[in-house]
Amino acid sequence: MDITVNILLTIATAATPLLIAAIGELVVERSGVLNLGVEGMMIMGAVGGFGATYLTGSPWIGLLAAIAMGAVFSLLFAVMTLSLATNQVATGLSLTLLGLGLSGMMGTSFVGQPGERLPNLYIPGLTEIPVVGRLLFGQDPIFYISIALTAAVMWFLFKTRTGLTLRSIGDSHTSAHALGIKVIRYRYLAVIFGGACAGLAGGHLSLVYTPQWVENMSAGRGWIALALVVFASWRPWRVLAGAYIFGAVWIGQLHAQAFGIPVPSQFLSSLPYLATVVVLVLISRNKRLTMMNTPASLGQPFVPDR
């Protein structure tokens, strides 16, 4: 029983950064912007979170720094694609490349330093309840943020007027502009929100998942988050489900390696990436579903007539 709980807990820990980064990107894509820089923003969040914790000793300040780092870094993308109407694919790619380089440079002195882990929640009485206690009341704070964030984004997109406006921009920025909706402003806010989420996801990696700094520690999770958004056909609750499935695959292959299953570890390590490909193929086979849900203006640059 205890093993099961432990496995579930580690799955949640593995799923949380994927979930947060994907939820952020979902909002960005719902506004019609494709930011392929998730991996870069995530790794910047990771180095920022670790650095601030290392310098101040407080992982909570680290948490805030991770969010701020992701948000500021995404602003670079926003200025390029929204104000200068650059190609979103190329700009997102360059954001990732820049993030991987910059984080490596900033993190040189952090390599091998001990980190500080964000403490898990502990509520006397509740956390000790067998089985469900630790699952519900004994996890790290970012886990709770991730669940709350998913619910909040769901409510925002489908229950509020602002959310409706955001979706309308993703459907047709020309129509939105004709109605007087401030397309560029909404998109700026969406991109920055996405950046903050990616930063937070990165912070989770260096403050909870493995509380230390390792170069390229995001290991493709930003890209998997992007794939999750497609997999979820831009629906928040499906992102949640997808993130946990991937978390399970990730943890599953680690456990398989630990148990010494007679398969080369490299093959097991490549499972999450192969699983992403397989899942993308499965989801894209349903053309109607994809076509109905893809924000119609996704990736299109928008330059209003003046």
Partner: protein, 376 residues
């Protein structure tokens, strides 16, 4: 509050088409100077070490060519993809698979020697890269799967596969446990061009030939026209009777083959054996090279040399100033950012709202360039 506003030009600006990479380079230098100053290094000293010293001697120029070879080969292929609006970003994986496929001959048949070995290796390298690139192409055409994500995921898979090979079945039994294959025999090593002057090998010549051939393809041939039409307006391409699915395969196979050629050239030329890591991210840096070269194969040759210099410079500042060699990645990223930003000037004039509402046409044009700097 000030706001950037873009005003579409009636025709693309020839002036900015030509100037944009240079403006971008200048801006990168400025940003780089700020960065070095922040790191507490005199920017002039740093630039000297970074950009001048690594190419002040002939043997160093050979090193530059070695670094530029894979970048140019890969970027030339990617330029065809990107012109066709097909986003292969998995060239790193295709590079690795090309290296692995080409190495089959010297690793599995070390006794096989002679003049046939190298051509066969190169051919296998191209086939390996192309075959690996065919996977995202197949998934895209068959199921409509997003090629950005699939081609990228396959990079991680390729890296792990190479890691397994050199630690497992292909490991050199006499290698004292080091994760590497046997050293290739002499007939499996790409010869150097001028052994007395430096290490540059025939790979560089392949890169130049590939650039010229692809340039002719893109600017003079019907196939290149097809690529450009399908990339810029797919519906017009369909109206012309050009098939998008065929184009996806063409672009992926071509770029995969060139990445594979780059991979086997690197392995058999610069390295001489397979190791767990055979690329410091050439496949990704080549994306920058492709854009810096404005997706023009001849421009890519120049861009490849510039980016190769950032690698050498990164190593130089690391040893001379103790700054992380990641500084090279930062320079590359900044350069791409500035290139993309400056390319906006080709199609748009930029103005700042709030300064003047009405102004004569000519004046606005002349002000476009300085305005960008103000905005930044």
């Amino acid at each position: 509050m000030m706001r950037l506003e873009l005003v579409k030009r009636p025709q693309r600006s020839m002036l900015f088409s030509a100037l944009s990479p240079f403006i971008a380079f200048a801006l990168t230098i400025i940003a780089g100077a700020v960065m070095f100053a922040l790191l507490g290094v005199n920017p002039l000293t740093a630039f000297n070490i970074y950009f001048i010293e690594p190419i002040s001697q002939v043997w160093q120029l050979h090193e530059l060519a070695i670094k530029a070879t894979p970048l140019i080969l890969i970027a030339v292929g990617l330029s065809v993809c990107y012109k066709a609006n097909i986003w292969n970003i998995g060239a790193e994986g295709q590079f690795i698979l090309g290296g692995i496929a080409g190495s089959m001959i010297p690793v599995l048949f070390p006794q096989f020697e002679g003049p046939l070995v190298l051509p066969l290796m190169l051919l296998l390298g191209m086939v390996g890269g192309a075959a690996y690139a065919a996977i995202p192409a197949l998934l895209k055409t068959r199921f409509g799967t997003n090629e950005i994500l699939t081609s990228l995921m396959l990079v991680y898979v390729a890296q792990l596969f190479l890691d397994w090979l050199v630690r497992g079945p292909w490991r050199d039994p006499q290698g004292h446990g080091f994760p590497q294959t046997i050293q290739f025999n002499d007939s499996a090593v790409l010869p150097e061009l001028m052994p007395d002057a430096g290490r540059a090998n025939w790979g560089f010549v392949f890169a130049l030939i590939a650039a010229v051939l692809v340039w002719i393809l893109m600017s003079r041939m019907l196939k290149g026209f097809e690529v450009r039409v399908l990339g810029s307006s797919p519906r017009a391409g369909r109206f012309a009777g050009f098939g998008l699915n065929r184009m996806v395969f063409f672009a992926f196979l071509l770029s995969g083959a060139l990445a594979g050629l780059a991979g086997i050239s690197e392995v058999s030329g610069a390295i001489g054996q397979l190791q767990p890591v055979i690329s410091p991210g050439y496949g990704f840096t080549a994306i920058i090279v492709a854009f810096l070269g404005r997706l023009n194969p001849l421009g890519i040759v120049a861009a490849g040399l510039v980016l190769a210099l950032t690698y050498l410079g990164g190593e130089a500042v690391q040893s001379a100033l103790g700054i992380s060699d990641k500084v090279a990645r930062v320079f590359q990223g900044m350069l791409l950012f500035f290139v993309l930003g400056c390319d906006t000037l080709i199609h748009y004039r930029i103005r700042l709202v709030g300064l003047a509402l009405t102004r004569p046409e000519g004046a606005a044009k002349r002000e476009a360039a300085p305005k960008l700097k103000e905005a930044r």
